[in-house]
């Protein structure tokens, strides 16, 4: 009883972690299922069919490919624009700083339906047809604020004396930026880019408002499949995404741990 009381927080924490990870476990297990009907809801028998033939359902790999392309372009543009904004806010005083912060914050405080529908309204009014370009515009928009916030936090935590030291050692502002500031801010930029990519790759609601039948992203494919029947391949791709993320995040942690040990 005493043991239970002193470990109450740990037990609750692990239970919550289990709740958080249970669906991922189900996704992995059901990627090895061989369902009888079109829906992959009930465990029937073990099979690696979907793993050996991940593109076995029509359209699924095209959808993944489109999502990857959109994700990469949106991440690249949002990361560049967002990092520039973050440096402006983090390193300069300028007229309109408060309203700039508000403008950055508002898209994050806007529900996805509102953002998606407002963009659709604009595109309809301007006569722009839905498709890949409107999707890209929307993705860059909602990734931008998250990149700014992530990079800004990193810039704020930098020790300004490091840059002053570089200047004292006769580095010009450009050299200081490239050799000192940028490497120090890089982990923040990487985190922002990773966040942007995952937001873009995962978005359904905003994408759905701006997509055409020829621009089916992976989440849209999954949504369509949920109405018609869920191929096992969906779980295979979900599992691959989960494991890739796990490796990337764990790898990043490892690198930063090693760096921290070296510098201390």
């Amino acid at each position: 009883m005493r043991w239970l009381r002193s470990h109450l927080v740990a037990i609750a924490a692990l239970a919550v972690l289990a709740y958080l990870l249970l669906p991922n476990l189900v996704v992995i297990v059901f990627s090895l299922n061989k369902p009888r009907g079109t829906y992959n809801y009930k465990w029937e028998q073990f099979s690696t069919d979907a793993w050996t033939n991940p593109c076995g359902t029509p359209g699924i790999c095209d959808a993944v490919g489109l999502s990857l392309r959109i994700g990469l372009i949106a991440t690249l543009v949002a990361t560049i624009l967002g990092t520039m904004v973050a440096f402006a806010i983090g390193r300069h005083r300028f007229w309109g700083r408060a309203s700039t912060n508000l403008l950055i914050f508002l898209p994050m405080a806007t529900p996805e339906v509102v953002m998606g529908s407002s963009l659709l309204t604009l595109f309809i009014a301007m006569g722009i047809a839905p498709g890949t370009i409107p999707i890209l515009i929307a993705h860059i928009l909602f990734c931008l604020s998250f990149v700014v916030v992530t990079v800004k936090a990193r810039i704020a935590s930098l020790d300004p004396r490091l840059e002053q030291a570089a200047a004292d050692l006769f580095a010009n502002p450009f050299q200081t930026f490239v050799r000192v500031t940028l490497p120090l801010v890089a982990p923040g930029i990487a985190a922002g880019a990773l966040l942007a990519f995952s937001l873009s790759f995962d978005d359904y609601i905003i994408t759905n408002f701006n997509a055409s039948p020829s621009s089916i992203t992976f989440p849209m494919y999954v949504w369509g499949a949920a109405q018609r029947g869920t191929p096992v391949q969906i779980n295979v791709i979900g599992t691959v995404m989960f494991l890739t993320a796990l490796i990337l995040v764990a790898g990043g942690q490892l690198i930063s741990n090693r760096r921290a040990r070296q510098t201390v």
Binding site: L21, L22, L81, T100, V148, K152, P173, F209, M241
Partner: protein
């Protein structure tokens, strides 16, 4: 970026973070802010304008300032509106309840396991949200182990008594939708809480203990107030997207659990009544802004991001 000291002294603005009179910040801001203005502010104005137009997609729309659209939309869809706020509120409360012990454990007790746990919290977030929600259909299925456990422990009776389910089945119910929302937004609560609890100086908790405070009193008088920035950030990051979400209500609910996001989606894309859809969308935004402003003022935290 490093401004020479001589330049620093010329400016009159207070020093933090660094002051320099130049065009650099404006040039840095220009592309990003232009994107936000053209594709966020302008669409919002377009949305407001669309809600006050009358017409149809074929013959075009005319700006008529027809405010009646708002009243009609509200009288038709107020149950979905109220339901969205209630479901999002319930899910936010539950995420706070669940996230707190995990965030506290990670920040204060996990020691060298801290980073490992952090990876486990972030990783599910990188797997498609839709696939994970579909997994809940499998978990809550009628003949599954979870449904069986709920029946033997009479948890399903409790849910029926609370009117969260209408029969023994857990799926396609209010319970499933709220559980799905709670699950989906949990990382958004855990991470801000973790960030503020990690900064908590454990010596303060020990000091409270030394002064004969009970653990409960220590929590309410020391830990909780110090974690408030995380609580405010986390609840906003959960409540706002949850109020507009329709994926959970669509995949885990029934016709009695339709949320406002689903209505906006179908009014826009299926029924193509753009004015009603725009009015609903604009009202959702206003309701959220009012709730958030009121809440932030009550919580007394102005610093959000």
């Amino acid at each position: 970026m490093a401004a020479p000291l001589a330049e620093l002294e010329v400016t009159t603005a207070p020093p933090p973070p660094r002051a320099r009179r130049s065009y650099t910040p404006y040039l840095l801001l220009l592309p990003g802010l232009a994107w936000l203005v053209v594709f966020f502010v302008v669409p919002m104005v377009a949305l407001a304008s669309q809600s006050l137009q009358t017409g149809d997609p074929e013959s075009g729309y005319v700006q008529t300032w027809h405010f009646q659209t708002y009243l009609d939309a509200l009288s038709q869809f107020w149950p979905q509106f109220v339901r969205s706020i209630v479901f999002a509120g319930a899910a936010t409360f539950l995420t706070l309840l669940l996230a707190y012990p995990l965030a506290y454990f990670m920040a204060q007790k996990a020691g060298r396991w801290k980073n490992f746990l952090l990876v486990l919290v972030i990783a599910p977030f990188f797997t498609s949200f839709l696939i994970r929600t579909l997994a809940w259909q499998i978990i809550l299925t009628d003949n599954g182990p979870v449904a069986g456990l709920a029946r033997t422990t009479h948890f399903s009776d409790l849910l029926q008594w609370l009117q969260l389910t209408s029969n023994d089945s857990l799926m396609n119910s209010r319970f499933a939708v709220i559980a799905g929302l709670t699950y989906n937004f949990l990382p958004f609560m855990i991470l801000p809480l973790y960030a503020s609890l990690e900064r908590l100086d454990h010596r303060l908790v020990e000091a409270a203990g030394d002064l004969y405070a009970t653990p409960i009193k220590t929590f309410w008088r020391v830990t909780w107030p110090l974690s408030l920035p995380g609580v405010v950030g986390g609840t906003l990051l959960t409540f706002i997207p949850a109020a507009g979400d329709f994926i959970n209500s669509r995949l885990l609910g029934n016709t009695q659990t339709v949320m406002i996001g689903q209505v906006i989606d179908s009014e826009f894309l299926r029924i193509q009544d753009y004015s009603t859809a725009a009015a609903l969308s604009f009202m959702l935004m206003l309701v959220i802004v009012v709730i958030v402003a009121f809440y932030v003022r009550r919580a007394g935290t102005e610093e959000l991001v």
